[in-house]
Symmetry: C2
Subunit: 454 residues, 2 copies
Amino acid sequence: MEIPYKTYLTENEVPDAWYNMRADMKVKPSPLLNPATLKPVTAEEAEHIFCKELVRQELDAETPWFPIPKEIRDFYRMFRPSPLIRAYFLERALGTPAKIYYKFEGNNTSGSHKLNSAIAQAYYAKQQGLKGVTTETGAGQWGTALSMACAFFGLDCRVYMVKCSYEQKPFRREVMRTYGAQVTPSPSMLTEVGKRINAEHPGTTGSLGCAISEAVEDAVTHEGYRYVLGSVLAQVLLHQSIIGLEAKAAMDKLGVKPDVIIGCAGGGSNLGGLISPFMGEKLRGENDYRFIAVEPASCPSLTRGRYAYDFCDTGKVCPLQKMYTLGCDFIPSANHAGGLRYHGMSATLSELYAQGLMEAKSVKQTDVFEAATLFARTEGTLPAPESSHAIRAAIDEALECKRTGEAKTILFGLTGTGYFDLVAYQKFNDGVMGDYIPTDEELEASFAKLPPVG
Amino acid sequence: MEIPYKTYLTENEVPDAWYNMRADMKVKPSPLLNPATLKPVTAEEAEHIFCKELVRQELDAETPWFPIPKEIRDFYRMFRPSPLIRAYFLERALGTPAKIYYKFEGNNTSGSHKLNSAIAQAYYAKQQGLKGVTTETGAGQWGTALSMACAFFGLDCRVYMVKCSYEQKPFRREVMRTYGAQVTPSPSMLTEVGKRINAEHPGTTGSLGCAISEAVEDAVTHEGYRYVLGSVLAQVLLHQSIIGLEAKAAMDKLGVKPDVIIGCAGGGSNLGGLISPFMGEKLRGENDYRFIAVEPASCPSLTRGRYAYDFCDTGKVCPLQKMYTLGCDFIPSANHAGGLRYHGMSATLSELYAQGLMEAKSVKQTDVFEAATLFARTEGTLPAPESSHAIRAAIDEALECKRTGEAKTILFGLTGTGYFDLVAYQKFNDGVMGDYIPTDEELEASFAKLPPVG
């Protein structure tokens, strides 16, 4: 059978339940801790901040399958199933015997996989009878996805957007406004924490940590609002399992088994989603696969971080989580993959990495854009800088196959498109893009500030 | 049978030949005229400017089917088949008994249907052994599509981009550069016509007409180069017939027949492509359909223009064509659908309209963005301003069905996405978007300058 360039599942073949990878882990990820008591966060505590059903999903490390509600499946039909694509033209350009496949999540207006979880989180907020949700956004993909989801369910959506992004990325902001979201530059004068930061740092252009703190304060001080988050959390990995479940169903249909599965990793939601069903087989001893998490050399949480309890946010208002971290005060040098500039990593992925079930590598920004350009010119799609980390690693694997003559099957996740990242491409095209790698001293200084827990 | 939200043809079901609508027209479109001799343009004359095979397609009004070469079909696999989508959520929001379908051409990096013809034109240039092609671009969709196509075949691509767009739309420019194109702001100092215009109008920000003249001069003065154009011409409608052929194949598969088919119309390539096979049935007396061309009230060539011979370009270097035109010197007031700001209309569509086989209507810009916003919030995808003209008309038809209780089947073309049009959305979101409608006096003044031909 000739493998088609693109494989779409039929709407009937689309999975109707999410898979919870933790259920098959013998050693589970460590529990979230309340920073005040250093005891595991209870459902009751968490429900002040998060939606009830999402808390249930977050704290459940035992149930393997969660049925996807019909309303969410209906919304998924607008942009799912996403295609599984055989990269014939990239293979030809590389002259490799490797067979390269990618699961493309960018064919929707949010431009990335974020919509998979945004619609789920909006749905549960609606189910709970809430008026709306609050969140933060940096580069803007998550804010866009959440705006689209809230528009669909008629929920109010309040997005705190890091002020420098708000000003420098007006287009993302306008997409959110078009979907009816209220977008506020952070730090704002709408919250106490925002007022305090503006007073202490006049003229500040904000940070993701500050925006999280504002969004959380907004949620907990307004009746009928909760805070939602687009990555890192176990609930988000659960929703993103749809990526891997579809990819695996399509590959099974084609009679193809990947040898190595590659994804970029910021907070870990895309990678965690992509590998879920494959990792499930590995955990249950049914099949073996190599998994590679790819992170920027400028923000190398898995490859150079500590496995320790740390705050999920720079503002230190969120629970503590055991994860690979560079320290919640670590500010990664400027890089153009905003979605990968996170100091920590999903607790689930961290534990899998600690157990040696997954590999990790870091790649330099200029090498990433070189791969992105080759990919664009051969496969057509202009990739997001984040996704291009996975492309770089996939190309490196394919070139290694060329050297050894092995015809491995490679699967990687193409999480999104780069249509709002042209400033970065321009820097690369003009030959003025830099590479930024933290020194050991910088990292040690950051580790020294980790909270003394566990 | 329940109609799925999205219908994709399998790769085997994708059409393998383009359909030439002119073949079934009893009265053919009038021939292109050489402006110097006022005699029909010969193949030999045209081949100085255009690729040989494309000239053959342009001048052939008799052959109904042109096989699509394998290399083009291979490239099509990267972004085709495009989905036929049932707009369930829009229907629900409108509360209409109408059944709305749209053929979505925006899921590729050029962001529109332009790639369908760009890859064909690049292929024939490569076949002819050319080094490269030249073209002009205004808003940038066509330039982007051509850059992608040229990167695929290793052709040099020289794009003359209207200077104000070059400066105001740096992102489109960077996409083209990422695909290896040489993008020059027009008027430039690279051509005689550019130098002359710069000398006569110091500080000018250029025009599409000037950019066309530069691109044509570049092609005819350089060995191994030809000029290519992204709309208006019969060859472009031929390539774009893939849109309609796929749409019809998908509807046939679903057992559905559209009552009315709607497309936005600038030069006419998307509309001509979408209606082709349906119009073929109407011309042969096999089936009847209503066709509606939708144009901006600010540039109403069909609804308020003259059916006369006119220049295809403002620079008056291209052949004369009989078409509905506002006059080649007509400068439409600023509007945000750059792809619809063309003074004339495809000769084929003009003749069909003159024969009463197709309707036309014009819509106001603010009404278009109101429709675009409703569409984005219900169907997910943020539409291009051009495409949103068709959305507006489709919504109006569906609301008329709501009034009368008729359950008509509506098909419209969603040509592209609005990811590079956020300045326009911002104006609409801020409530500062205007409507511009030319006065009768303005149009009469423009008509008075039409060339005295025929």
